[in-house]
Symmetry: C2
Subunit: 124 residues, 2 copies
């Protein structure tokens, strides 16, 4: 479990510092990256590293929680691009043979609350 | 950890079966429920049970993954309302004194992929 957490921490730190060698070092050569919301998939370490290298904008991420169980884990992080307000996002991981073999991102967007529950909710 | 998993499983099963007594039984009286995307918060077990009782539509949920570490956990689940296609959602939990004291939902919505990465991605 400590090994899984360490992999996830190294993954996030390498992204934030654009250290593509360190980033590749935590990935299984056959890693599968998925974004279920857009139904996009990238197969393989080389392409996935390239995807992140090429990702546009002055983006930054700051982990807020890592939760690990055996060879599975999830990180919650704050995502910020340029001067835009930060958003929250998640990435789920699966480990195989000591490397990250699955990486699955979620990017929940802000929305206005549906009407009819104001008698129970407060806003912040 | 098994205790946390069992609480989460009971929470999800009680929701799906509309068993509001069983649902209340896994909640701390001072539970705090949050939906960060809409910045809504509900304080207290009674109001949170009421919120779920009153939630409109013929909704169903099916857990696909539960990940637990100590007194923290997350469930991924498929969410279906009536005949609409199912969507994926998440709920993070925190346990205090053997009951769920924090419940935090995320509802990521489908979106179209940004252009410029088709050379790396496949769609499904």
């Amino acid at each position: 479990m400590d090994a899984t957490r360490e992999l996830i921490e190294r993954f996030l730190a390498a992204l934030e510092s654009r250290d593509w060698t360190a980033f590749a070092d935590v990935l299984d050569p056959e890693v599968v990256y998925e974004i279920p919301q857009s139904r996009e998939r990238i197969r393989g370490r080389d392409r996935y590293v390239q995807f992140n290298r090429e990702f546009p904008g002055d983006w930054h991420l700051r982990p807020t929680m890592i939760l690990v169980e055996g060879g599975a884990g999830v990180a919650r992080f704050e995502w910020r691009v340029g001067e835009a307000p930060p958003e929250e996002a998640f990435v789920f991981f699966g480990v195989r043979d000591g490397l990250l073999a699955t990486v699955t991102d979620y990017w929940p967007e802000p929305y206005d609350p549906p009407r009819g529950r104001e008698h129970l909710t407060e806003r912040w």
